[in-house]
Symmetry: C2
Subunit: 718 residues, 2 copies
């Protein structure tokens, strides 16, 4: 996981030139120069701008902001490390050639009118890229907002504002989002280490920037706005490694159909399946936000606070109502409002007035002094049962906000405890007090629920950093996989021209992969069905075998609860009749007769996402798949830990744990099943889709009852 | 629904006196006087304070802020309409007597130390209340923050700030929440009509204030923070009438166990069951917020915009990313991103550049001028397919924010369309532009998702105002209710000393109420069981009858899928054996033999909430009740419309609509069942709890299979 040193000139250049610097106040070239010289659009103090050399270049020459405007890059007569380009596309190819002679190492191409405009634009973009490669120049853009590096006072963008330096590195596919986050940063007083809008990605791509941010010491948390990655698999492989060492927060635009359509029309790329992205985020350890508020709030917290090592929250407040609402919000987020130990309560008793709440939320009462806050905070910080603290202050007539903020910041810097703290000072929104706390590294939010949500992100991050790989179970009741059997079955299916494998072959494939099925047999007629049923034992299920029927139960092709020979015989006739009445032309090849097994039904499936490839699904099966959509997704291949995490994401955990005397799921066994499916799909990329539904939890393990295996359609297939 | 005119002096007094005005800067008495004279704690301009007469009273006399401090109320020598009291409790009784002589009509008692402190305090509070009633003085408080009426520049509270007048009336059980909302109002530039913190409610209660706000013309939306109402049923009866004419938003503190514990400890009252409050809000047409952000945002929108008459949303934006995120947020909230008509698109084509998105979100491109926004907004406003508009603006180098805001405000005031509009100007947070829009009545939010959430509140409000009472179905397959049968069954149960009615009596009660059961019979032994089964027809279910078994299936007391006489006979023996092995002392009185019915299982239940009384539950039954908790609650008695709404709240609508060839629910029939339960519970208040689980959806209607009916435990009951 190494950063590419050739990116350094974008973020820490010694000199910058604006190509296309303009006098016209509404032009991008004007904005670029002003931002470089003065830091922001409404600035005028050179001391607030980039402190390296800044040059203006425009073919018309002249003077701008008291600076000479050179007519060309060579006219500067010195090497320039970074150029920021806002001239018409047709001139850029020649510019790059010239830049090669002038020592340019990096170019940010702001101009639009390339690949996004069609064939001709794409060809031009490719030529520019080739030229740049030849000259050893890296490119960001085209069609982007630019780059900001607040610690260098470098605003190489046409964003109207800049912000103070801080711990959050932002990578955004939307220039407008960049503008927005910078504005929130100024409003909420947090800092950004680096801001990058990549635009058309002719050269530098998402992965490059991600790795650069991962290696950048100033960046403590990485925030990403994405609509679609060019190479999602590659990105997430890198991201997974990055998230091991640094927190990453992402927000995906286009998770709804309407949003995806909008995203696709404005980026010209597929938004990618929501489920696949969610799986990729989960698997990589990236925290996926769904609102800009969380995106910004989580990044702030992760960029300034240590992760929480557990889910046990303490709330410290000087007012009941906001404390109650914070407790409610924490509960909704799945955090645990910790029960304070006797020891902690005794210590609090020593420093708090007698009427304090005596439980969590710790209400230190409206007249709380700075000292009272400090003492209570130090006690909660040192309490072993507390993993993180949300501190709320409301301004009442006796409150001393600034002194309280100072006391809090001091306590939080106390080296005897290192736990995360998020604050909300209600009634002090946007005042110096909030800014003071943020400057001291304590995130302060305008609403208690946002402080709680940020703390939850710190807790999720902490749990992720403690996540350990799972070891393989030693005792499994599953049969051993038999690769040859799988290969034979697929061969047979191909030979028969089967696209959707028949019951027998689908079962061959999955038994070969190491799954267990219920006992069953194939009967050509009523008599054979009865013989099989007698061998298996009652009750049994009879299902039609027909290449023309996809959803057997929808056409009456399944009969349940058959308890004796007569029932089996009658069921076969009835099934035949019902299927014929629904689909008169259906070919009926016979019946399967199966051991009837009852229990909690799971579903396991695999489909292929156009961007991500094989995607695994696991969840509650039966009719509830469609109704409650209680399923989790993971990209394949997956680790045993990923498999267990996916199982843990299913909402109906009580059902898996044997609610109402049902058999309890052996999670290790289900994880093993998922790994076997993963292996099957890796070894047989020709399987384009499969599902096992239901996979039943029984007292003696998981038993598959029905399944589908789909191979690519063959031209000759009926 | 009339307001009590005796409350008027609290909000529109001609003169106010502060009793306990103090020189001490950290005292409440100092804050009260300062707020009255100058409007806010850091004010000093008398023109910004209350413009009626303001008197200071303190036994030590002297002068304060250039005003004479009277030693007593009579010393003023003139009538005073409102007094604000911050003196020790023990002096207040005498004060009220005196106030009666001085023409006082209303008193706000800020001082604490009454009922919340125990018996003695309660007695004092009662005496003060009696004295006030005798003198015709209304009381707000004790132990409250006070009252604000911004249009009168009246700040009769010790809140540090006031705010501009506006459409939102706030009633809060938490003083800290009041401070918070005022601060948000200043920050987000919205106005408040009236702010009331009621405290200990010795006299004026929640209902009084609610009705006053309902009748107050300046109040366009009512916002309520509640932890627990004193008389929840009474409050919600009033609230239901109020919400018919004015939007009401509420946030309930203590919806989680931890939150409820905190609320209960700080208010000294039970927080009330979350389900009961949620039901009460839904039934009264009150929008329940779960975050302070939504509480404030919804109130703002409802206080300034007309409701939306449907769920069809148009998004207007000048940037892709934020438009995409807004679309995603709208989809998550269940809003419908409307497909624009050809006509609308043709009209937009005339005013927008060729590269506009050509679908919803309407992306008018980064260089959008004020005129372009205005024209697009007018077209969407006039489009019949659009119910509400969310407008997003990001600041790009060519943006003219103020001019755009003016164009938007103008378009929104165009009388040719009256649809709600919520805006988000990203990158302009907290600037004059946002304030300008708010002042023109267009709510502007810092994040697009908040504008979307506010629009959703306007849509929900619009749908509520169009809600019509449902009429009774004409054809129902349910049996007629038989009151005498119910009464007889309850009498029998009482005679037998049954607390938890046995199967037969429970069935008698519910059949008497007009519900249909599956066919069944009671057997003393194996032989009788077989006879009943033969009469009913196979398959049947056998269940144990035992007064000592509560959850029959947990002890093996139920046998399913019995298809012939042998199976029934064996099942009886097995059931007997299993129950005995689980509970050796269980008395086994025999067996019920029932027609086995399969289908989607519902649950209908009634329990009693300590505050609200009978609470109805309806949802998906079977094991999934516990796992997915897919149930809705309503207070009893309920209307047919309420019943249908509750059914509509169940998440698994697809299941009710017959997913996968299941029988389709007749909603009118289920509503009728709920109304019959409502009637049963009203007529028989001695039923403290009941549930029907499962109630099965069959092709020929709803069939109850099992039920519990609970009467109060009787002392003599075993």
């Amino acid at each position: 996981m190494h950063a590419d040193p050739s990116l350094q000139p974008f973020f820490e250049p010694s000199s910058v030139a604006v190509i296309g610097a303009s006098h016209r106040e509404t032009s991008v070239g004007y904005a670029l120069l002003k931002n470089l010289l003065f830091g922001r659009m409404d600035g005028s103090n050179r001391a607030e701008g980039f402190q390296g050399e800044v040059f203006a270049v425009n073919t018309s020459g002249g003077e701008l902001f008291g600076q000479r405007v050179y007519r060309s890059l060579p006219e500067i007569g010195r090497d320039v490390e970074l150029i920021v380009v806002a001239i018409p596309p047709k001139f850029i190819e020649a510019l790059i050639e010239e830049a090669g002679q002038c020592g340019v190492k990096a170019a940010i191409i702001i101009s639009a009118g390339f690949a996004e405009m069609g064939e001709e634009g794409r060809a031009l973009q490719d030529r520019i890229k080739t030229a740049a490669q030849r000259k050893g120049i890296r490119l960001i853009g085209p069609n982007c907002l630019g780059v900001l590096r607040p610690s260098m006072q470098l605003n190489a963008s046409f964003a109207a504002q800049s912000t103070q330096p801080g711990g959050v590195g932002l990578l955004s596919q939307s220039g407008a989002l960049v503008t927005g986050v910078i504005s929130y940063a100024n409003r909420e007083s947090f800092g950004l280490s680096t801001v990058i809008s990549l635009g058309g990605k002719a050269d530098v791509g998402d992965e490059d920037v991600l790795l650069w941010l991962a290696n950048d010491e100033a960046t403590r948390a990485i925030a990403i706005y994405v609509e679609a990655f060019k190479e999602p698999r590659r990105f997430f492989e890198e991201a997974r490694a990055v998230a091991k060492v640094k927190p990453v927060v992402a927000i995906k635009g286009g998770t709804s159909d309407a949003g995806a359509a909008a995203a696709s029309s404005h980026t010209g790329s597929l938004a990618g399946s929501r489920a696949a992205y969610a799986a990729a985020f989960a698997q990589a350890g990236i925290l996926e936000a769904h609102t800009i508020g969380d995106f910004v709030g989580w990044s702030r917290a992760l960029g300034s606070q240590p992760p929480a090592m557990g889910k046990r929250l303490a709330i410290l407040t000087n007012a009941g109502g906001p404390g109650v609402l914070a407790a409610d919000a924490a509960d909704r987020a799945g955090m645990q409002l910790v029960e304070l130990s006797e020891d902690t309560i005794a210590k609090l008793d020593e420093v708090l007035p007698a009427v304090w709440s005596h439980h969590n939320p710790v209400d230190v009462i409206g007249d709380a002094t700075p000292e009272r806050y400090r003492d209570a905070l130090n006690i909660l910080g040192a309490a072993p049962e507390v993993d993180g603290i949300v501190l709320i202050m409301t301004v009442q007539s006796m409150t001393e906000p600034q002194e309280t903020a100072e006391a809090i910041a001091c306590a939080h810097e106390d080296p005897s405890w290192r736990k995360p703290l998020c604050c909300s000072f209600i009634g002090l929104i946007g005042t110096e007090v909030g800014r003071y706390l943020d400057a001291r590294g304590v995130p302060e939010f305008n609403m208690p629920e946002r402080a709680v949500s940020a703390m939850n992100a710190l807790m999720r991050r902490g749990l992720w950093t403690q996540r350990e790989e799972a070891s393989a179970p030693t005792h499994l009741s599953l049969p051993e996989p038999d690769d040859a059997r799988v290969a034979r079955a697929i061969e047979q299916a191909n030979a028969k021209g089967q696209h959707n494998l028949d019951l027998t072959l689908a079962r061959e494939v999955l038994e070969g992969a190491g799954l267990r099925y219920n006992r069953s047999g194939t009967a050509a007629n009523e008599q054979e069905a009865v013989e099989i049923a007698e061998r298996i034992g009652y009750p049994v299920v009879v299902k039609v075998i027909s290449p023309d029927v996809l959803h057997k139960s929808d056409v009456g092709g399944v009969a349940l609860d058959l308890v004796n020979a007569t029932a089996v015989r009658n069921a076969c006739s009835e099934v035949r009749e019902k299927v014929r009445s629904h689909e008169p032309d259906a070919r009926i090849a016979g019946f399967t007769v199966e051991e009837q097994i009852k229990g909690t039904e799971l579903i396991v499936g695999m489909s292929r996402d156009p961007g991500f490839g094989p995607l695994l699904m696991v969840g509650i099966g039966g009719i509830f798949v469609e109704v409650y959509k209680d399923v989790a997704f993971r990209l394949l291949p997956l680790s045993r830990r990923d498999a267990l995490d996916a199982i843990g994401e299913i909402k109906a955990q009580a059902l898996l744990d044997g609610a109402r005397n049902r058999p309890v799921l052996d999670r290790a066994e289900l994880a093993e099943v998922l790994l076997r499916i993963s292996r099957l799909v890796e070894q047989h990329p020709e399987i384009i889709e499969l599902d096992i539904n239901p996979l039943v939890i029984t007292a003696s393990g998981l038993v598959a009852i029905d399944s589908r295996v789909i191979l690519p359609a063959i031209a000759s297939d009926g």
